[in-house]
Symmetry: C2
Subunit: 343 residues, 2 copies
């Protein structure tokens, strides 16, 4: 009979643990870095510390699980928004089908400009014209047809710069924050200026965020019956809530009914969401993503020498506010070890 070795005791205990469905965490697993794509620095430290204090029952800043609500802007915060919002790209690419169905639109602005294929002219279209395109391409069909169209498009369409599906252009450091927060009992929400119905089509697959946790710009629907008497929902050209600026806290209230404890944005359109989050009691996390990496992604916004642009505006005032108050600026260049998963 062999003498009992420490090794065999450990093996027996491990077997017993397996038998009883137990997980024995190793020292390595317990210390695994939850944010491996983040460089060490104040931003990473702020996230880790926030999770630590809000999930520790003995800490005065403990937050009960049901109140762990974290909200994320999408365009420019979770994925690339340059040179054009992905949803606007979708709408522009839908125009030929719309014009085919209604040929009388071919010579009417703004459809004429879009049909010309002149990207520069399209980029200069005024907001009112852009709205006409959005209404023409996002409403007037059943919800089922809309979902099918978007799903088909998003599976095939590619970004002009990286030549990859838009859904691969999510920021790996932010994907890690989403997972890290969820692993610690937070409910993660998208709160986007983009269309709620549009983002819902892919949010579960791309971010692990289910449709009921997508808050966006909301349009009305009409319940009716098709010719076979089957109930249908049709997308109406009626705006219920513009989920930008003050619309973000209003949309959060409407859809969630609780004040978030953490919020992530990147532009002036996120300012009110960040303020609203920060105005609550106890531990708060408000982060602003600064696009300052022209090599790995884009540089725009208020950082010294960077041009301000129409898309993803992050004003100097918001930047100043962020750096003098509790908000934390996340530098794409310095805080991320990488920008994309495919790097």
């Amino acid at each position: 009979m062999k003498p009992i070795s420490l090794r065999s005791v450990i093996a027996s205990l491990a077997a017993l643990a397996v038998t009883f469905g137990l997980l024995l965490p190793t020292a390595a697993a317990a210390q695994a870095d939850p944010l491996p794509s983040w460089n060490d620095g104040p931003a990473k430290q702020a996230i880790v510390n926030f999770v630590k204090v809000t999930t520790d029952q003995s800490n005065p800043e403990f937050v009960p699980p049901e109140e762990r609500i974290a909200t994320f802007d999408q365009d420019g915060t979770l994925w690339v928004e340059h040179p054009m919002y992905t949803q606007v790209e979708y709408c522009l690419e839908r125009v030929p089908a719309i014009v085919k169905a209604k040929p009388e639109l071919a010579n009417v602005e703004p459809f004429k400009t879009v049909m010309s294929g002149d990207r520069e002219a399209m980029a200069k279209l005024p907001t009112a014209d852009l709205e006409k395109i959005l209404y023409a391409t996002l409403t007037g069909m059943t919800m089922d047809d809309f979902r099918a169209e978007v799903a088909k498009w998003i599976a095939a369409a590619k970004d002009g710069h990286w030549k990859r599906p838009y859904t691969e252009l999510t920021y790996q450091p932010m994907q890690e924050v989403l997972s890290y927060l969820r692993a610690n009992g937070f409910k993660t929400y998208i709160v986007t200026g983009g269309g709620q119905d549009f983002v819902r089509v892919y949010a579960e697959r791309v971010y692990g965020i289910p449709p009921e946790q997508v808050v966006g710009t909301m349009g009305g629907t009409s319940y009716s019956y098709d010719q076979d008497g089957k109930p249908i929902l049709t997308k109406d050209p009626k705006l219920l809530l513009n989920d930008n600026d003050a619309g973000k806290p209003e949309g959060i209230h409407l859809m969630i009914g609780r004040r978030p404890v953490a919020a992530f944005g990147n532009s002036s359109g996120d300012q009110q969401m960040l303020e609203h989050t920060g105005a609550g009691d106890g531990a708060r996390l408000e982060m602003l993503v600064l696009h300052d990496d022209p090599t790995r992604e884009y540089a725009y916004g208020p950082a010294e020498g960077l041009p301000d642009t129409k898309v993803g505006t992050f004003t100097q005032a918001l930047y100043d506010e962020a750096t003098t108050h509790a908000s934390i600026v996340v530098s794409m260049k310095n805080d991320g070890d990488r920008v994309f998963a495919f790097e």
Copy 2:
């Protein structure tokens, strides 16, 4: 040394189980009735069978956990709606405070009638007048003030018939359905014609349903700043969505973005929600509560000899539809062993 008895072996195994945090289900526990307040019958059987098939991976009607959405009307389905909706009671009781703040309303209808205390005259107020009372008492204040007012009222107010808090007048059989579905991975939602903000104040405590799972009639809010520069949300007299009739599937789409697999209602205002739920593929559960118990609760609606009323109308047509299609009618009189937990 005592001989090893079966009893001591079982005790040792039980101790081991406790040590390893295991739960050994006993035969009794495994067979415990999840719906103890329900009498045996087709309604109870339908619920148990639905849960069985939708949660069994080997069953063709299996529903993945993320799609297990169940929606419940509130008034008349989860709690008493007679002789007046609880929220209307709240609004009427708020009128004196409104008139005190704006004395010029004292002689203006419909405030004059409410101030007179004449319940019969109040019950006869036309819808347009009722809306004036709702806007006056439910809007124009900050969300925080509104929540505090409702919480204070609901903690103290009592129903005129049972002399108990309204929050005790929930139907015990339906509370058991909520718990049973949640224990089987369903997300339970309230989908009410009542005010979304109103019901959210107490839904978590009373039904275990968090604010983000309350869908109701939705009013607009405005984000602004108080005199100290602190962000506030104010309730506006602006209707975003009337969550009744066709508004129910529209509200479900807006707030959840998925079609429910189970829905529970009791009136014509729930018909479209039930239809919408039933129009999906796979296993479906659509239930209609019939108030036919004048002894333990109230009798109203389409059952033979029962008077039809303005509140909680359940038309003969809906009843006929229910009894000829897949929907199942739940009789308060015959399907429930009890109506309230306090019986």
